[in-house]
Amino acid sequence: MLLVCGVIVLQIERAKRGFKVELRRIAGLEAMDEVVGRATEMGRPIHFSAGVGNLTTRGAPAMMASLEILGHLAWMSAKYGSKVITTVAQGDVFAVSEEIVKGAYLRAGRPDEYTPDMVRFLSPSQFAYAGGIAGIINREKCAANVIIGHFAAEAIYIAESAHLAGAVQIAGTTNMYQLPFFVASCDYTLIGEEIFAAGAYYSKNPVDLGALSGEDFDRAFAIVLMLLGVVLVTMGDKSLSDLLK
């Protein structure tokens, strides 16, 4: 763990000193502009959900990454005059989401356009939450549905409801069991680690870019370890696999 974290910190420091990090194109993140443009042209709101996770359990990192995307989406919407309706399932996420959306309107120079109904707490119960989202998307005629974060069984219900309402959809999660549903139902899907690239993708600041570059080094290291493990185990040597247990 120290090695993995050390590489990330090292890359952050290198990026701060001018090390250039190139980003590959991620369709789901690129499409955010299209989503805001569509909503602005149609004069309809965008729905955003970070899922049913909260900020203190296993899904917290995915929720944090998702809230970074919310910050960008809300800022873009504020800038172009469209509206994002953020629905949340947990109290702690509600408090943070409110601050993020308010902050985005402040950054866009339009703090007076923020209204309290832009962030709505629905229910911690997953199906009550999903039902609430389906109702909002249909009643408010949302032009787009952005669902990125920690989702469980309610994922397919939310995605299909939005599809039937005619909303363009960007989805993303690290939950392996829900990814196939998003791929089947949504126009763009961020798969696993792609949602963690959002911060660097939008901000382009050296810290985020360096962290992303550090992640790539760690992934390469993991691949090398795996290949080495396969070779060693095939040769009957289990020392590496025993060490990593």
Binding site: G71, Q90, G91, G131, G192
Partner: protein, 206 residues
């Protein structure tokens, strides 16, 4: 000042919790156990903030007679009744349990069942051989589905084995790859917060 304090708290608690997991040191372990006890309390207060926010939004809907405002009336009445009744008579009360079981549980089950229907409709859209990738998805999906039902084996005896191979080798390998890279992403997000690099959770343009 307020932002600085929040960042310091996040850094101290973040590093403390990580060390607490790896190091056995009473001086560190007992305060961190105390912090863990605070979490449900803080979360409960956050639910109250959320509930007040929800009532505010629907109260405004009723006041301004926005479209389908009568739904907001139902929500406010049911929510307030549930809170008052639950506090007055406890959550094990017969009436309270009856309403909970016959409204929330049955509505949740209904939505879950609709989800099963949606699975079919989304699969129908996804399983169209519009390009090579989609054709591979279609073929592998069809084999895996046939492998789960007796008719698959009746059509060709090797289908269950091929289905198992797709699920156990190709699917598991792909899933583990995504899980591993997501895990590294998890660590990066946590590290950025613990070192104070990521302050997006504070809002206000941080």
């Amino acid at each position: 000042m307020r932002t600085g304090l929040a960042v310091v708290i996040a850094i101290v608690i973040g590093i403390g919790m990580t060390l607490d997991y790896f190091v056995k040191l009473p001086l560190l372990n007992s305060p961190m156990a105390e912090v863990r006890n605070w979490m449900p309390v803080v979360t409960s207060f956050a639910v109250i903030v959320g509930a007040v926010g929800l009532l505010n939004v629907h109260h405004r809907n009723i006041q301004r007679k926005r479209g389908a405002w009568y739904n907001s009336v139902v929500l406010c009445v049911v929510m307030l009744w549930t809170i008052v009744w639950g506090i007055a008579f406890g959550t094990n009360d017969k009436t309270y349990t009856f309403v909970f079981d016959n409204v929330l549980t049955s509505a949740s089950t209904t939505l879950s069942a609709v989800g099963a229907l949606y699975l079919g409709s989304s699969a129908f859209r996804a399983f169209k051989a519009t390009n090579v990738n989609a054709a591979i998805l279609l073929a592998s999906g069809a084999i895996v589905m046939l492998a789960q039902v007796p008719i698959g084996e009746a059509l060709y005896g090797g289908i269950p084995a091929i289905g198992d191979w797709i699920m156990n080798i190709l699917n598991t390998a792909g899933q583990r790859g995504i899980m591993l890279t997501s895990g590294i992403g998890f660590m990066t997000v946590c590290l950025r917060i613990m070192l104070g690099y990521n302050r997006s959770y504070l809002g206000s343009g941080q």
